[in-house]
């Protein structure tokens, strides 16, 4: 296909770490090529060796890591033959790298412009002055508003999206042949992610750079890359063009990953997600045959005998599955139709009603709060009302900093609301959790984002789960023991995990313990604040299934907060869209995901990375980032970024709530009919229906 020398040619690369248990091959016999102007997406879950692979390519491995075999050619230069000093000359000039967390990848003590300029000085031989001009030119290239001013700022003064632009600008300063990006958008909001992905795509076309793009997000790969390699436990399982891999899916692992991603046009009532059973094997304990065999549905005896090589299945499409011919015939099994089918919707009893919740913070803390009182007020939550019924899930979506978490913390009482009423099963609650009696605490529980921080590292998993039983339910010792066992069973954890300490558990297992603990009190309402965001897709899928099953058997209500709209769509009956402390749209999940949308919802939906290259989403991109909650725009709070702003009215008047259908409400100045007309069929309609029906 391509006759030119590839920019990056990795041949038969094996990366080994020296450990106490002996050498461990974390990446094995990997081959791939990237040509100029091509974006190669490398997908894998955590532990698959993505980052090791990237660091091996640039020879930036930790002291105990080395290349056991293989060659790395950069436009014909054999990188393995170069000294450390020679590598330093290649870093930043011929290969640049952009890492995951932009806020930690920029030195907090050095001005932004200088951090770009130093690259120009080191590699292009520029003088101080020339380098400064170059830095501003590069900031312009990444569409940075007001580049001269930004060049003089420090990292803490910029948002995550802006910082990622700075890193991209830095990386492109020398016009490198190869750009390696390691999860560059993972730490960003969906809306920002979409903008950055567009930017990367445009710039790569302009600069004709070869890109190695590493991510765990299949949707992002589908959106940005031309070629894709699926990495599993240090080996490439499938490789090909985007269309080949996403449509033909000639490896069960690829199929598994895609099955884990919730769809934006169906939810828990229609389908259950297909989680991949088991765990990624560790490099010191690899199965003898195919490394995916223990988790594979299509496994047969021959798979476990010999490891299948990565072989050609069709032109340009490689797979490491020996049964790919059969896979071609089997067709898609993306998701299971849910047993029992669609359940009848009936309104359960009211569990929680929150009316006009407000939470204001004063900006200054300590003594100065005295004389600054009333001046700089942060309106984190500003007049939000929601109602929740039994066995019902309310999803709350919005960008970070819009007040989702504060709202949840007010409801549970970790944060004292400034005003408003919170009623649980008809009983008015005190604002502070400290003032709520145990019977109330029992009824409301919370699962936090980071299970590492919410489980006591010194206590075995079982005792974390036992605590609410003892404190809130007054059970005897024996009853507690039985109940803990039962809860572990309910969250699908083996009984022997009761005695384990958190550090002996994986991220997904820890979150299961946290869920078991929340259910220990037998709550009527559970608040889940991004409970699956930090986990791998396959783990996310199994946790979502678990939440659905538990809800069904225990009739619990969930308040589910997430920035992952597909997950919210899957789990929620009802969705509330929050921006700058207020609700802008609320309705059933089905209604919110089809027009009419609030323009903000529309932008959020258009930003979802969908793992299907055939879905051509309309690109509605928001400008800038969420305004400061200290300085909330007048009129409609969204007018500063709204792509559908109609005029002065948006700046001056608070928009009214408009009703569409029975329960769907939108707060916008644009009349519903007009929204319907403008938004047409909607953003996600072109999604081909597959697998679900029949």
């Amino acid at each position: 296909m391509n006759e030119q020398t590839p920019v990056l040619d990795v041949e038969d690369m094996t990366v080994t770490y020296r450990t106490e248990k002996g050498p461990l091959d974390t990446v094995r016999k990997v081959n791939f090529k990237i040509c100029a102007g091509e974006i190669y997406g490398l997908v894998g879950e955590s532990g698959s060796g993505k980052t090791t692979l990237a660091h091996a390519v640039v020879r930036y491995l930790p002291a105990n890591g080395f290349l056991r075999s293989g060659r790395i050619l950069l436009s014909g230069t054999d990188l393995m033959s170069l000294s450390k000093m020679e590598m330093r000359e290649i870093w930043g000039s011929r290969i640049s790298m952009v890492h995951q967390d932009p806020s930690s990848s920029i030195n907090p003590a050095i001005q932004i412009g200088e951090q770009i300029a130093e690259v120009a000085r080191a590699h292009l031989g520029f003088s101080r002055k020339e380098a400064r001009v170059k830095a501003i030119e590069m900031l312009n290239k990444v569409h940075m508003p007001d580049p001269e001013a930004v060049a003089r700022r420090y990292a803490h003064q910029l948002s995550g999206g802006m910082l990622q632009r700075v890193l991209i600008a830095t990386a492109l300063t020398t016009n490198p042949e190869l750009l390696i990006m390691d999860e560059p958008t993972t730490a960003l909001d969906v809306t920002t992610e979409a903008v950055i992905l567009d930017l990367i795509k445009d710039l790569m076309e302009e600069y004709n750079t070869a890109v190695l793009y590493i991510t765990h997000n299949l949707g992002v790969v589908a959106r940005i890359s031309n070629q894709v390699g699926v990495l599993y436990a240090g080996e490439i399982m499938e490789e090909g063009s985007i269309a080949q891999v996403f449509k033909n899916k000639l490896h069960p692992y690829t199929r598994g990953l895609l099955g884990c991603v919730p769809r934006v046009d169906a939810n828990k009532k229609d389908v259950s997600l297909k989680a991949i059973p088991g765990y990624i094997p560790r490099p010191d304990n690899l199965p003898r045959g195919c490394i995916f065999a223990p988790r594979c549905e299509l496994v047969e005896k021959a798979c476990t005998v010999e490891r299948p090589p990565l072989a050609k299945a069709e032109e340009g499409h490689l797979t490491a599955c020996r049964r790919f011919e059969e896979l071609k015939k089997i067709g898609d099994v993306v998701a299971d139709t849910r047993a029992g089918g669609t359940k009848e919707d009936k309104l359960g009893n009211l569990v929680l009603e929150a009316r006009n919740i407000k939470k204001y913070f004063t900006a200054a803390g300590g003594l100065s709060a005295f004389w600054q009182r009333g001046r700089s007020v942060i309106k984190a939550v500003d007049d939000i009302s929601i109602r929740m019924r039994r066995s019902f899930t309310m999803g709350i979506v919005g960008e970070s900093g819009c007040g989702k978490t504060t709202l949840a913390r007010c409801l549970i009482g970790l944060e004292e609301a400034t005003s408003g009423e919170i009623e649980l099963e008809g009983e008015l609650l005190p604002y502070s959790v400290a003032k709520r009696p145990p019977e109330i605490l029992k009824k409301m529980q919370m699962v936090f984002q980071n299970p590492d921080a919410s489980l006591n590292p010194q206590h075995p998993a079982g005792s974390s789960v036992a605590r609410p039983l003892i404190l809130l339910r007054n059970l005897s010792r024996k009853e507690v023991g039985d109940k803990v066992k039962e809860l572990f069973q309910a969250v699908n954890l083996p009984e022997e995990f009761i005695e384990r300490l958190p550090h002996e558990l994986s991220g997904g297992e820890k979150q299961r313990v946290a869920i078991a603990r929340a259910f220990a009190a037998d709550p009527a309402l559970m608040i889940c604040d991004e409970p699956i965001s930090s986990l791998d897709v396959s783990v996310q899928a199994s946790l979502m299934n678990l939440l659905v099953d538990l809800q069904e058997s225990r009739e619990t209500s969930y308040l589910f907060i997430s920035h992952d709209l597909a997950a919210v769509r899957h789990l929620s009956d009802w969705i509330a869209v929050v921006y700058l402390g207020r609700l802008w749209e609320i309705g059933s999940a089905e209604d919110v995901f089809v027009p009419p949308y609030h323009p903000y919802t529309e932008a959020l939906l258009s930003a979802i990375p969908i793992p299907d290259p055939d879905v051509k989403q309309e690109t509605i991109r928001l400008k800038g980032s969420v305004p400061s909650t200290m300085d909330i725009p007048s009129g409609c709070r969204f007018h500063t970024r709204c792509p559908r702003k109609i005029g002065a009215i948006c700046e001056q008047q608070e928009p009214p709530w408009q009703q569409h259908g029975n329960y769907h409400q939108i707060r916008c100045h644009i009349p519903i009919e007009e929204l319907l007309e403008k938004q047409g069929e909607g953003l996600l309609k072109k999604m081909p229906v597959e697998g679900v029906i029949n």
Binding site: V58, Y60, R88, E89, I90, W91, G92, S93, S96, M97, H99, Q100, D101, S104, S105, I106, N107, P108, A109, I110, E118, V119, A122, H123, R153, Y154, H156, Q157, L167, T170, S368
Partner: protein
């Protein structure tokens, strides 16, 4: 930044006020009556009573406090009960001596501690690190009277490079005092060095792990540039605080070292005052030490702010 400074300054005044209250109250609880101490055991009741009246000791406590504090602010720090001379010149002279020793010690242990700490961090868990960390911790634990006596034995008596006794005269200049300062400064440095080394080591290790250091490496900057501009710039921040806090200790807390070498510093002055129940002397020198502590902390915070844009520039 200005508002920040203003606020910090207000806090210093508050700290000094509270400290003066505590010092004044504490000295009230010292055993014995001041007038009695001045006049001696055999003074008559009336003579004692007259002196009490004269010194204002019969007035209510808050009036006494205000008189003392007011005088202190105006520069009238009272008269020493023992020497019957004004306290201020005595304290200031000792403060000058302590400052000379402090400067000398800082010049030795700060640069050395930073260099050793950085080396230890770069060679983490290898031989150089183990050596540096082990030895510097051993010195922290070694009492000054031991290290001081050992230094005297080897460098003063054995090799006769430096004088063993550092009891310099008043009004000695830094140049004249230099040979007398070397041994006490080394003694103090042995203790101070460990803290600086440890702080620098842990700060540098933390920063070396940061993503932005990896990013700087992968920008292809020369290794020394990564170390100085990207690592040390951030990793020395906690060290700055330790250095500044050390200033208070150097000026007021070197009682043992000053005693071993007979060096006339502020620390020994307080001990002397306490032994003789010289209240004005105790009060004045304690206030000075408190003031030095608070101001050196302010200097540390300002330096910290200057080096750290998050504080300097604000959000």
């Amino acid at each position: 930044m200005y508002r920040y400074l203003l606020r910090r300054f207000a806090f210093i005044l508050l700290t000094l006020f509270l400290a003066s209250l505590i010092i004044f109250t504490a000295t009230q609880f010292l055993p014995g009556d001041v007038a009695q101490i001045i006049l001696g055991q055999f003074a008559t009741e009336t003579a004692v009573e007259n002196l009490r009246e004269e010194l204002g000791l019969n007035r209510p406590l808050h009036i006494q406090y205000l008189n003392w504090a007011g005088g202190f602010i105006r520069g009238d720090w009272g008269t020493s009960l023992v020497s019957r001379t004004p306290v201020r010149p005595i304290v200031l002279e000792r403060l000058g001596n302590s400052a000379m020793l402090a400067v000398m010690a800082l010049l030795i242990y700060v640069p050395l501690g930073i260099v050793l700490g950085v080396i230890a961090a770069l060679k983490r868990d290898k031989l150089p690190d183990q050596l540096i960390s082990g030895v510097s911790m051993a010195f922290v634990g070694l009492p000054e009277f031991v290290s001081g006596l050992l230094l005297i034995a080897f460098l003063a008596i054995g090799l006769t490079w430096f004088p063993a006794n550092s009891s310099i005269n008043p009004d000695t200049t830094f140049r004249e005092a230099f040979p007398y300062l070397v041994l006490p400064a080394i003694t103090v440095s042995l203790t101070g060095l460990g803290y600086i080394t440890r702080m620098t080591r842990s700060g540098t290790i933390d920063v070396l792990r940061m993503d932005y250091v990896r990013a700087a490496d992968l920008k292809g900057l020369p290794a020394w540039q990564v170390l100085i501009r990207h690592v040390l710039r951030n990793s020395l921040l906690p060290t700055v605080t330790v250095v500044a806090m050390g200033i208070g200790w150097l000026l007021g807390g070197l009682i043992v070292t000053e005693t071993v070498y007979g060096y006339p510093g502020l620390g020994r002055l307080i001990v002397y005052g306490i032994q003789r129940q010289d209240l004005p002397l105790i009060q004045a020198s304690s206030m000075i030490i408190v003031a030095i502590y608070t101001f050196s902390n302010l200097v540390a915070d300002i330096l910290y702010g200057l080096l750290n844009p998050r504080i300097r520039v604000g959000e």
